[in-house]
């Protein structure tokens, strides 16, 4: 633990540091030398068209995929040097909200939240589990759905439950994969507010993968524009979009034409 703290200080304020990351699938090069830093307490949006490797990037961050080349350092720990046990310990400090929520459909709303908790934290009493589940559900406004089955939930409620499921383990970093994809505009606004609320309440640092500019602008302080396997530009919303770069201008105008 002490070692973690020392390494953490050495890496400055960065909670995630990506250097020269390459990933390809067969003949398709998805990431071609990606560099990125996520600072403590900030929300960073990774913007880009579909198929540019945004989701691949965050799957690499939690070890669901292995990079071909490059370094990933999370909370002071280099990912490729970790044993499976150490990787699991690190994963507990990272929350991952899936694009399609990935809820356990054989379990109820309560089960979806209590399952990761009881599997990772031993010797919890029923009361402690109930309290933690109720707290997480209350944070995302789903307390009244505690006994429901997941198939009874709407798209927005499923997203909220997916976020609650990650928050129950009190992560330090949150990774959101397309949090507003497939939702109506009103629900999009609700989810965007929830992401900001969660960051303030749980003091997390987050990466939000999205192609939705409104989501990026509302939830994040910094934006990284991923195009053709590389980050074309990184900065605040204004810095990124006040540019003469044709591909970024195209992306911006397309989003706002819609």
């Amino acid at each position: 633990m002490e070692n973690d703290k020392i390494q953490y200080r050495n890496s400055g304020d960065a909670v995630i540091k990506i250097e020269g990351l390459y990933k390809s699938f067969g003949e398709l090069d998805v990431l071609k030398g990606v560099d990125l830093t996520l600072r403590k307490g900030e929300n960073l949006a990774v913007l880009g068209k579909s198929g540019t490797g945004k989701s691949v990037l965050i799957k690499l961050l939690v070890g669901l995929l292995k990079p071909d080349r490059g370094n990933i350092t999370i909370l002071g720990q280099q990912l490729d040097s970790l044993s499976p046990r150490e990787l699991n310990a690190l994963r507990l400090r990272i929350g991952f909200s899936f694009q399609n929520s990935a809820l356990y459909d054989s379990m109820s709303v309560y089960g979806n939240l209590s399952f990761p908790l009881t599997m990772n934290v031993k010797n919890l009493t029923k009361r402690q589990v109930d309290d933690a589940v109720e707290e997480a559900l209350d944070a995302v406004g789903l307390l009244d759905k505690i006994g429901r089955r997941t198939e009874e939930l709407s798209g927005g409620q499923r997203k909220r439950l997916g976020i609650a499921r990650t928050l129950i383990l009190k992560p330090e970093i949150m990774l959101y994969d397309e949090p507003t994809a497939g939702l109506d505009p009103v629900t999009c606004i609700e989810i965007n507010s929830l992401i900001v609320e969660m960051q303030q309440k749980y003091k997390t640092s987050s990466i939000v993968i999205t192609h939705d500019l409104t989501c990026a602008k509302t939830t994040c302080e910094r934006i990284a524009m991923l195009l053709n396997g590389k980050f074309l530009k990184t900065g605040t919303f204004e810095e990124v979009f006040r540019t003469e770069e044709e591909q970024i201008k195209q992306f911006y105008s397309y989003n706002f034409t819609i």
Partner: protein, 264 residues
């Protein structure tokens, strides 16, 4: 950059993927043996799966076992009558059901019912990223989903096989009792009189092997399902066909080994 993902085929895409599948299956089985005997054991999930696999298959196994007992007795009677050996009917049925039919029929039914359900469940969990969700929550999905299910099939199917054999003999007795006045006790005594310890042992071994095969094949096919819902359907179909084929192959090998031991 060096293109780590770029692939050159050794023979052709189809032949390479066939051998790749065998190698992956082998690695998957080795991983099972590595994980099956280390903690955590998820006993509650194993019991839950035994209930799903075992108890929920009981009505089907009962009906099928009973019908098979009747049918085989009806089919065997005329042949034995030709030799005036109808009194051997209980012994014949005892040997046929305990040695071969009980484990084989139970396993084939379970390959269809249980194998398809395991494969479809894991396959849909895979394509909807539920397995990835477990992994990022620091839960070992192989241990929680695969090991528990393979343990459950390896435990439940031998019990179901024994039960199926008993019910099959009951069906046989029902048919015999309509033709001759024989008590159930006399029938069962005759049926088991020619069954040796080796028969019971080989029957138990077979059903454990069959149960393991159904579990590991179904989990393997489900765990590596891809290409959405059609991929799940394909994986389920392959799991049932491959399990059934391997069950027949294992039956052949085990019978051969038991016969060597018997006549040694």
């Amino acid at each position: 950059m060096d293109r780590a993902g770029a692939r050159k085929y050794l023979f052709s895409k189809k032949i390479d993927s066939y051998f790749d599948g065998i190698y992956k299956g082998y690695r998957f089985t080795l991983l099972y043996f590595k994980e099956a005997f280390t903690s955590p054991f998820h006993l509650r999930e194993i019991i839950n799966q035994c209930f799903e696999i075992g108890l929920k298959s009981l009505p089907l196994i009962t009906m099928t076992g009973f019908i098979i007992g009747i049918v085989f007795t009806k089919q065997s009677r005329p042949s034995l009558e030709n030799f005036g050996a109808v009194s051997w009917l209980p012994s014949l049925m005892g040997i046929a059901i305990v040695r071969a039919l009980g484990p084989l029929v139970t396993s084939l039914i379970c390959a269809g019912k249980v194998g398809s359900s395991i494969s479809a469940e894991l396959g849909s969990m895979k394509v909807t990223e539920q397995i990835d969700a477990m992994e990022v929550s620091a839960i070992n999905p192989f241990k929680y989903l695969v090991v528990t299910r393979v343990w459950a099939t390896s435990i439940s199917i031998p019990i179901l096989s024994f039960y199926c054999s008993c019910v099959g003999l009951l069906g046989s007795y029902y048919n015999v009792s309509t033709e001759e006045a024989t008590s159930l006790q006399v029938y069962y005594t005759n049926a088991f009189s020619n069954i040796s310890f080796l028969d019971l042992f080989s029957s138990l071994t077979k059903s454990i092997v069959f149960g393991f095969t159904i579990g590991i094949i179904s989990c393997y096919k489900g765990f590596f399902a891809s290409n959405g819902t059609s991929g799940v359907g394909k994986a389920t179909n392959q799991a049932v066909i491959l399990s059934m084929f391997l069950i027949f192959l294992e039956e052949l090998i085990i019978v051969q080994i038991v016969n060597w031991i018997r006549y040694f």
